[in-house]
Amino acid sequence: MSATEEEKKQIVAEGEPAQKHVPGEAAPEPGKPGTWEFLIAIPVFILGVVVCLFVGWVLFPAVLYCEKQQPIDFSHVVHQEAVDEGCESCHFFREDGSFSGIPKLENCSQCHEEAMGEHPEETRLIDEYIEPGKEIPWLVYASQPDCVFFSHAAHINMAELSCGTCHGSIGESDHTRPYQYNILTGYSRDIWGWNIAGIKKNTWDRMKMDDCAECHEEKGTNNACFVCHK
């Protein structure tokens, strides 16, 4: 015990510089190394902070997220005019209560069996998917991990929420936006949100567990694990 304390004292003694600046005593003479080093340290420190911020806020997210384009540049605006029943012509509930999600190729073929216009995207749609009968591999922005159970029926029929509450303006978009996913988890960027600081301005900016739970808490819905998980 006493030995260690002695050791400590020794270490402290050694660690202290010989000419330590003690208050009350005379300050180090001007011209001696210290002042100009100090002046250099400030910009170096600021530069370090800037570099770190750049790496953390710009470089890291750029590396962390990979970007893909949707297979077809689909326009909700054009189609909203072409269909009779609005969103439900393509996104509807099946008889067993499950949500149809993004329509299958069969739906597109109903109108695009033959080219209706001269749009190059439409030609591509017919040549690459409809002719060979190949399903379009859409990328789902809102896609949640495998362990999550989501029910559109609960939110649309019971809670009477609008699609925009969770999806934003996709329903009124004229072009598909790029799809980004996390290279480590494979999750869509829309889950974590596009703002790297995690700032959320709209209800649809982010859809992590806490965002689901926050609204459930507000509306007094059960927040047991076995509601959203399976």
Binding site: G97, C147, F149, S151, T221, K230
Partner: protein
């Protein structure tokens, strides 16, 4: 604390099961149905009980008497979804989980297990008096082509986590989804049944809401000769058994002489 985040808005249920041991022939259909329903993988040798994964397991017990008095009974054992007694609802596994990966849902009475949250400490396995929980020593693997038969409604488990019977909770999610699409909330008795219940050829298993007098289980659980496994531990399980054979009932509670009725005060 636990109850606070589960306010809920709807009606509460208390799902449970009554198994008639006199009707169980030990055929194992419930085990097979459970594995197929819940994406449970199998091992090269599933008779090795140290490594095999079963959520529903059929045990065999015998009275140990010589012919002509020899008798055997089979005991199908899913997760008991213990409610515990008193205010604190001490479900054995839930009370020991350091990760909050398992929880008791007061709206359904189902003990949940979130596999992505579990880190495999296996405290819950030690706490469970029924051996209802199993550990994944390996990543699940299926013979080539069989992955196509997996159910998308049940999330897969990875190596290093504990898993267990969920009373086919995904079937309740499906039933609710359908109800919501029809703009109603109540779930009928026949809308939500577990896979083992449906598979049992002898009709030994009855499943439903223990609190709803219109469900068959509600009456069955109060019939004479009904008991629960290791009732004296006070785990308050929601799986009931019924038999006319006295020795089976005694064996099920590991009955050793005069022990009283076993229920520990809350």
């Amino acid at each position: 604390m636990k109850e606070e985040h589960q306010k809920g808005h709807g009606k509460t249920y208390k799902y449970g099961m009554v198994v008639d041991l006199d009707k169980c022939t030990g055929c194992g259909a419930c085990m097979v149905a459970c594995m197929a329903e819940n994406n449970i993988s199998f091992r090269k040798d599933d008779t090795n009980k140290l490594v095999s994964n079963f959520w529903m397991r059929v045990y065999k017990i015998s009275n140990g008497l010589p012919f002509p008095d020899a008798d055997i009974s089979y005991i199908p054992r899913p997760c008991m979804h213990c409610e515990g007694h008193g205010h604190h609802h001490a479900t054995p596994c839930v009370s020991v989980c350091p990760a909050c990966a398992t929880d008791y849902d007061h709206e359904t009475g189902i003990v949940s297990q979130v596999y992505t949250r579990c880190f495999g400490c296996r405290y819950c396995m030690a706490a469970c008096p029924y051996h209802a929980r199993v550990f994944n020593w390996w990543d699940p693997r299926w013979p080539e082509g069989m992955e196509k038969y997996l159910s998308p409604d049940v999330s897969p488990r990875m190596r290093g986590v504990v898993e267990k019977c969920s009373f086919c909770f995904h079937r309740l999610q499906r039933a609710r989804n359908k109800a919501y699409a029809e703009k109603r909330r109540e779930i009928g008795e026949d809308e939500y049944q577990t896979a083992c219940t449906e598979a049992c050829p002898g009709g030994a298993i009855t499943f439903g809401d223990l609190d709803n007098p219109e469900h068959k289980v509600c009456k069955l659980k109060d019939a004479p000769g009904t008991f629960r496994l290791l009732e004296k531990l006070g785990t308050n399980p929601k799986v009931y058994y019924t038999t006319t054979r006295d020795w089976v009932q005694k064996a099920a509670d590991v009955y050793v002489g005069n022990e009283g009725n076993g229920v520990t005060p809350a």
